[in-house]
């Protein structure tokens, strides 16, 4: 009997350990509402099942054992907005980065985003950027959730993308090198990462080879049957130094692998063309920040499938460095030319950091269609922050970042009734 009991107890213990290690993810089922899959689609009756941080299923009459039910009757479930560049609580002058600076270092573990305010504006995700100052070597942005729960900001992507500047702001700083120098510097940053990767791969091979050699040596020693004799220290047998991957390099490599966007701030036509040429040569898709004269090269931008991230249609204060022949109807022109657009609050002096939907609405007032503006705030912004295919719509597999409104998605300025971050539902309206 004891012989039988022991394996049984062991089995129970092991299963218990296993379940403790992988606790079932929380499940939330939004029932009775309508779903607007994306900015372009019409709401239809459907339930949404969320498991953990992702949407598991969308459809009518969904059942999910153990899921928390949330009655969405009378509400339209739509994707949350995304701000494609945000400076958080720090303004442009207070938050200037140096080469290789990490936005995540300044945001992760801090209460550094006005999350409640952002959530009330329907914004679920922001790309936190650093104001570019010494930007020819690249600054690393992060993607953060605006979930107001918890004391600090939740960073979803620590190495979300690289930002550079060509011309414009960079040239306004003493000692800058001019457009050709800026372009060369960005190209060099990417080439250096390629060289670094080659070196890293060689190191990795060396480490693997060393491990193999050591194993073989141990086997030989075991065969020789001399366990009591201490082994002589041989310098040559020490493993090669493990290569350290700097986060900046890792981000550059992610960019080269198309896992993170190459973001270049440029406003004047010649700078935009230089940025586009650089991205094309490197085989990367460009995310263009600012783009004051982008309409003059709209065809090229459309062909290259670049995303242009725009600030306000009528900026309140514009430095002469950033004031090219800009048109108020820039967004409308780019959209008409088939260029993908997104909106940002960063650098929009006179606007709060939750102003991306307002900025979008003001572009509508200058001729952009509301549908295009909503697309830019959702799917367009998702591409601009390197999360294309992962957020911006209500579809299985996407991040569950949703807004619940009494009517379909709109830029009427009204706060959503509720915001959904994963499996938590929070009030969108001001309490």
């Amino acid at each position: 009997m004891r012989i039988l009991l022991l394996p049984l107890l062991l089995l129970v213990f092991v299963r218990g350990m296993a379940s403790a290690q992988s606790a079932p993810e929380q499940r939330l089922l939004l029932v009775g509402g309508q779903v607007q899959t994306s900015a372009d689609s019409a709401p239809r009756k459907a339930d949404v099942l969320i498991v953990g941080e992702r949407i598991e299923a969308v459809g009518e009459g969904l059942k999910a054992e153990g899921a928390t039910l949330w009655d969405a009757t009378g509400l339209v479930i739509s994707p949350a907005f995304v701000d494609a560049a945000n400076l958080g609580l720090l303004d442009d002058s207070a938050f200037r980065g140096g080469a290789g600076d990490m936005a995540a270092d300044m945001f992760e573990g801090h209460d550094s985003l006005p999350r409640e305010r952002l959530a009330r504006a329907g914004i679920g995700l922001v790309y936190v950027d650093i104001a570019l100052q010494d930007a020819s070597r690249g600054l690393v942005g992060c993607v953060a959730s605006t979930d107001p729960k918890g004391a600090n900001v939740t960073v979803l992507e620590r190495l979300a993308g690289l930002s550079f500047a060509i011309g414009t702001r960079a040239q306004g700083i003493a000692g800058r090198m001019g457009r050709s120098g800026e372009v060369a510097a960005v190209g060099e940053a990417l080439s250096a990462a390629r060289r670094y990767r080659t070196s890293f791969e060689k190191h990795t091979k060396d480490v693997e080879k060393h491990a193999k050699d050591m194993k073989e040596a141990e086997a030989k020693q075991a065969k020789a049957d001399k366990p009591d004799k201490p082994e002589k220290t041989d310098k040559k047998s020490l493993p090669p130094q493990k290569p350290r991957i700097e986060e900046l390099h890792e981000t550059v490599l992610r960019t080269l692998d198309h896992k993170a966007p190459l973001r270049i701030e440029a406003h004047w036509r010649e700078d935009i063309e230089a940025a586009l040429e650089l991205a094309t040569k490197q085989g990367l898709r460009l995310v263009l920040l600012g783009g004051g004269e982008a309409d003059e090269v709209a065809d090229k931008l459309a062909t290259a499938k670049a995303v242009v991230v725009l600030g306000p249609a009528q900026p309140l204060w514009v430095s002469p460095l950033l004031a090219p022949r800009r048109r108020n109807d820039l967004a409308a022109k780019l959209d008409a030319a088939g260029v993908r657009i997104a909106f940002m609050s960063a650098g929009a002096r006179g606007y709060r950091s939750d102003s991306a939907p307002l900025i979008a609405a003001l572009h509508v007032a200058e001729g952009l269609s509301e549908a295009a503006a909503l697309r830019a705030l959702t799917l367009g912004a998702a591409e601009a922050i390197g999360l294309g295919g992962r957020c911006g719509s209500v579809e299985p597999g996407r991040l569950a970042l949703l807004q619940l409104r009494t009517s379909k998605l709109s830029l009427d300025g009204a706060a959503p009734q509720k915001m959904v971050f994963g499996t938590s539902v929070i009030d969108g309206k001001k309490s």
Binding site: P315, L316, G350, Y351, R352, L358, A361, L362, A365, G413
Partner: protein, 383 residues
């Protein structure tokens, strides 16, 4: 090509004299918001020779009238900007003396100011130009407007005596050097000028940017017996109730989207306290579009859309003492109307048409002149 240009110029020359009077325009739209009376859905406005001749659900359509149809559009009065420096670019403060009650802005206008056409393009038909903040008594403000072609006109040359209690008016190397000193000067040295100004319609225009300055200004408001207008920002949030009672109205500048929820709510609180409010664009320091942006921010802070529109039009005209000419769509007033795609207090609303003094202006500066059926396109102005 040259012949065509020449004939176009001749046509412009032939028709321009008529433009000053405006033509006959009928504007039909989904909604007409008159601000001063009944609204019409659908509605129509008839403008003859530069003035509004009729407004209603429908209006008679004279022969050769230019008819503008916007079945989905919303027609509202032209905006009135209650404070800016457009049309008087430089030299608007006397540096050596604090008290300059006799200066007149109307004497120092700059008709070549490029910001004039930008006012038109943003839908601002009429505006108050104020002296700069360098003097405690800065002189006489003026109400200006432009013709559809950008020609500057004075609607009211003595629109009030500008008093500035902001630090920059006394923080100089001459007397006064303190807020108390400024108040003492106002109460003694310039009493006759001040009281004379207070005696006229909307006599005293008091500029303050802090609650402390407003607290001092309340004495001036009381002395002007309801003929003082407060010019401030939303920062004076602790003075709402007192200011609403002491002044005939409050003009807010820089109510911009950067404000916190608490400060965005200040204009709405003024209205709730029974105050009359208007907005200032602060152009040309800020773009002309900042005027509407102030209203949009106030709406986000809880001001009703119609109240925001009233602040942009009739309330501003009343505070400037020109409500008999502009500020609402009613018979006899100047033919300044705007056509928006939605209510103008909705951020998405696109400005589709500007009619200034009965003449059609394109939203982005180009001017279409329409005297009695003729149409001429004048060179577009640069933004």
């Amino acid at each position: 090509m040259m012949q065509r240009t020449l004939s176009l110029l001749l046509l412009v020359a032939a028709i321009t004299p008529l433009c000053a009077q405006g033509g006959t325009i009928v504007i039909r739209a989904g909604t007409v918001i008159t601000v001063s009376g009944e609204n019409y859905s659908p509605g129509a406005v008839l403008i003859v020779d530069g003035r509004i001749a009729a407004v209603g659900k429908d209006v008679a359509e004279p022969d050769k009238a230019l008819v503008i149809n916007h079945p989905e559009g919303v027609v509202v009065p032209g905006f009135v900007d209650a404070g800016c420096g457009v049309g008087a670019r430089r030299g608007l403060a006397e540096s050596q003396r604090a008290m300059m009650p006799d200066l007149r802005l109307a004497d120092a206008l700059d008709p070549s100011d490029p910001a004039i056409k930008r006012q038109l393009a943003a839908g601002t038909s009429t505006w108050l130009v104020l002296p700069q903040d360098g003097n405690v008594l800065g002189g006489r403000a003026a109400v200006l407007r432009a013709t559809a072609t950008g020609e500057l006109k004075v609607l009211k040359s003595d629109a009030g005596l500008a008093v500035c209690l902001r630090e920059r008016s006394y923080d100089r190397e001459r007397e006064p050097t303190s807020l108390m000193g400024a108040l003492a000067l106002l109460e003694r040295a310039s009493a006759p000028a001040y009281d004379a100004a207070a005696a006229v319609d909307r006599g005293v225009l008091v500029g303050c940017h802090t609650d402390r300055e407003v607290a001092v200004a309340l004495r001036l408001g009381a002395r002007a017996k309801g003929r003082a207008v407060l010019f401030t920002t939303a920062d004076t949030c602790d003075s709402v109730d007192a200011a609403a009672k002491a002044f005939s109205g409050t003009v807010f500048a820089r109510v911009l989207p950067e404000l916190s929820d608490r400060l965005s709510a200040v204009p709405a609180r003024h209205v709730a306290a029974g105050g009359v409010i208007a907005f200032s664009s602060a152009a040309p320091e800020l773009p002309a579009s900042a005027l509407r942006l102030c209203a949009l921010t106030a709406v986000r802070g809880g001001l009703a859309q119609d109240a925001a529109l009233r602040a942009l039009t009739l309330s501003a005209a009343e505070l400037l003492g020109v409500a008999d000419q502009v500020g609402s769509i009613s018979s006899g007033k100047l033919g300044d109307v705007l056509v928006f795609s939605k209510h103008p207090a909705d951020a998405r609303a696109q400005l589709l048409r500007v009619v200034q003094g009965g003449v059609l202006v394109t939203p982005h500066g180009g001017v279409v002149v329409t005297p009695h059926g003729g149409v001429v396109v004048a060179p577009a102005s640069k933004e």
